[in-house]
Amino acid sequence: MSEAINIHSGAAVHAVHHDNGHGHHEQSFISKYIFSMDHKTIGKQFLITGIVWAIIGGLFSVLFRLQLGFPDQSFPILETFFGHWAKGGQIQPEFYYGLVTIHGTVLVFFVLTAGLSGTFANLLIPLQIGARDMASPFLNMLSYWFFFIASIIMLSSIFVHTGPASGGWTMYPPLSALRQAGDGQKIGTDLWLIAMALFIVSSLLGGLNYISTILNMRTKGMSMTRLPLPVWAMFFTAVLGVLSFPVLLSGAILLIFDRNLGTSFYLSDIVINGEILPNEGGSAILYQHLFWFLGHPEVYIILLPAMGMVSEILSVNARKPIFGYMAMLGSMFSIAILAFLVWAHHMFVTGLNPFLGSVFVLLTLLIAVPSAIKVFNWLTTLWRGNIRFTPAALFAIGFVSLFISGGLTGIFLGNSTIDIHLHDTMFVVAHFHIVMGVASFFGMFAGVYHWFPKMFGRYLNNTLGYLHFWVTMVGAYLIFWPMHYQGLAGMPRRYLDKRGWVSFNQFADLDKMITVVSIIVFAVQLMFVFNFFYSIFKGRKVTSQNPWGANTLEWTTKITPGHGNWDGEIPEVHRWPYDYAKDGREFIPQTEPVGANESKH
């Protein structure tokens, strides 16, 4: 089937939908499931690709946890699979660093950026604002396929002889700029940079689409202050991405130049392996500025969609309006602004001017204020509710708990005085895994459990969902809570064997425990993946249009809406999305006109 015909049939569907949704002719398999321009299908594509990457990234973490927990033990099976990377059944340092690097890159960018906002921005924006599709379905499709190509290139780097990039997910030069510096700095790093450049293109195409869709394509009556919070969150996420990803792209391109064209953007005064390089006058720190100018907003690119979805899910399941809708908007807005002004807190010990450092301390700790507001608003949303513990609601509650725990440790690291001691230790690893990694994953799981009925017309299995939640919740704390103590002892990150150290060899038992728990948690995630795919085909069927009793527009469509979302007219909106428990009614959908004697809020 050729592209031209696909586009044609897509257009035909559009035209037909305006009068009668049942009339459109069948799409071919390719145009329906592969080169689809339906935002819902693209969302599912992002989700499934994200799941595949999450399995790979998670498996990598299990492998390097084996090394950390059992540094003296040999696992012959590893040699069977990985050959010289695990000589004698032991993970070699180059392999270890390759695993860590790809684990970080993949989870931050491919899973928690593309897999999270790619999935839910695509699925929810048109459905919740009342649009038939994105502003540009074609660019939206391209966004996925650029991501797909980036994925293929990143995946291929694992299979090259010298191994994948191994300079850490931040890819700091000069290490990443010099082929002489190690095996992972050879072709693997080039592939990493190309994959990231394509990934950024994908992310920009998606982001521009989300922004223009939200601004231009809202249904009648859907003013900006009547938007559900997930949509607002996706909006800020997209703005952050559009403004900061190009900076990373420039950083990556300069790095490609330094690697391949002999420029000296990041290189100066280098003697490596006895070889004196000619480069002078570059600054290695420049890259760090460019990287973290994306890198910090990236944290919020990951977190904001989770926050938005958690707000929605908590409100729906507490059967109570979200507390402080405007405060939620205000805090997301200030987070989005401040996210651009805190990047140098990753660089307190690079020799940064101390005065500049102090400005970044102030701005960094400022960002804790909107975060605190959000937490208190979530707590108040639960207060005096009538809470249903669906798996989605549990994951949302878990998100809040993890966000509190991980957010508070951020106050340590944002304070430059304490950061001197804790910088680049296991404390940082524990902090960002809780607040950005696991918390955002919880937001994503909450979203999957909550909107799975909309995606596939079936439910996920509840019992497996509860098991998934409880094991992951307990496991996440068991893994990352004690890890803070390793950091307080000053133990640096990315140390694969501490037995040679006097200062850091006291945690062998702890490392074993963490490894065992992480294997269990990983196994339970596989169970979730199984539940996901099994339920797509065999799950309990959704029988009612609005299974959660929610107010937002996506539940006014058919159980499994076709391309174009609504069969007839797009519904008109008359109120904000959080009228739960108002005037003695359990919920009042957005489409219901405001009654004459309805109380105001």
Binding site: I77, P93, Y97, Y172, P174, L175, L267, I270, V271, I272, N273, G274, G281, S283, A284, A318, R319, K320, F323, G324, V349, T350, G351, P354, V361, L362, L365, I373, V375, N377, L379, W383, G385, I387, F389, L394, I404, T409, I411, N415, S416, T417, I418, H421, H423, D424, N461, L464, M473, P482, Y485, A489, G490, R493, R494, Y495, W501, S503, A581, D583
Partner: protein, 348 residues
């Protein structure tokens, strides 16, 4: 074979879990979905409360188990400030942590779905929102104030009497240079680096300040209670001078020298007594990913009395004389003839 069994057991466990989950879904449909939903709601509500209580107990248990394993007393003046800031922050954040986690799980438990429980329509309240904007803002301002005050103390100019040591990181080890009697580190240029000609630091021999500079590897000696300023650089990639016991840290960046200063307050010997560990040494850890040997990039610092330090220093020969034996008055002329051409080439 063992691996096979483990995989088989995992698969079996998986299958059983799945069958139970599937069965419970059928039972739910048979018994009436609403009834079993309310039952699982009660179970999860209870579990949330249990998680809170067991979790808080776990936090204390974890602390009891691990608090002895973090580093103990800070061994520098700046370390005292860092630790004080750390514990003040810990106090405040721990209070907030307990408060909010109790709120979260207690509300979840208390307001779980019940028949006849009417949720309260409570969309916003300006007073409450103002309170929890202002209180965190004030608390954070205090933390920022203290933090910046200490930060400027730590990163401010080094005292006049501070001794200077140059620290250079390379894949995967540490090099140190002492300025010698004149107190000045001689000039260096990276293109002069030539370990074969005994010039690993790239010193410029034309600079007379280089004549008495001492070069050592892997082990740095410092004087107790005497401020020291480290001038930090790197040869190849970015490293980081991590001094966990002194609570200090600074990146080593090729091409951009950095500095940090502190005053060690306990000798290595004193720390051995304090920690009860006869093998205790101060270690330098590389804290910035620098390649495959990153995890093993270890240096040692010996903190000792002035007398011990002077004796150690006296045993070292300036690198200038090592590289140019012809200039060494202690070496007799006739033993030199073999190395003379090499020396000549280096001096140029």
């Amino acid at each position: 074979m063992q691996t096979f069994f483990i995989v088989a057991i995992l698969a079996l466990g998986f299958l059983i879990t799945f069958q139970i989950a599937k069965a419970s879904e059928y039972v739910a449909v048979l018994r009436g979905y609403e009834r079993s939903r309310l039952q699982s709601n009660r179970i999860n509500g209870f579990l949330l409360l249990a998680f809170l209580i067991i979790g808080l107990v776990g936090v204390f248990y974890c602390n009891e188990r691990l608090k002895g394993k973090i580093l103990g007393v800070p061994a520098s003046d700046h370390g005292v400030l860092v630790d004080r800031m750390l514990y003040v922050t810990l106090g405040i954040t721990f209070f907030v942590f307990v408060l909010t986690q109790i709120g979260l799980f207690w509300f979840s438990y208390k307001y779980q779905e019940k028949e006849n429980q009417k949720p309260f329509y409570f969309p916003h309240n300006n007073k409450l929102e103002l309170i929890w904007t202002v209180i965190p803002a004030i608390t954070l301002t205090v933390l920022v104030g203290f933090g910046i005050f200490y930060w400027f103390k730590i990163t401010g100019a080094a005292p006049k009497n501070a001794m200077r040591v140059e620290v250079t990181g390379k894949q995967f080890g540490w090099e140190f240079r002492y300025p010698g009697k004149d107190g000045i580190l001689g000039k260096k240029y990276f293109k002069n680096v030539n370990p074969a000609a005994n010039n690993p630091a790239g010193q410029i021999w034309d600079d007379p300040a280089n004549n008495d500079d001492i070069f050592v590897e892997q082990e740095m000696h410092l004087v107790v209670n005497k401020p020291v300023q480290l001038v930090i650089g790197a040869k190849d990639v970015i490293h980081d001078v991590g001094l966990a016991h002194f609570r200090m840290k600074m990146d080593a960046v090729p091409g951009t020298p950095t500095t940090m200063w502190f005053t060690p307050t306990y000798t290595t010997r004193e720390m051995r007594e304090k920690t009860g560990n006869p093998d205790f040494v101060y270690e330098i850890s590389c804290d910035q990913m620098c390649g495959k040997g990153h995890w093993s990039m270890r240096g040692v610092i010996v903190v000792e009395t002035q007398a011990e330090f002077d004796a150690w220093m006296a045993s070292k020969k300036p690198q200038y004389l090592v590289a140019n034996p012809g200039k060494d008055p202690a070496v007799k002329k006739d033993t030199l003839s073999a190395t003379a051409p090499v020396t000549g080439a280096v001096i140029r």
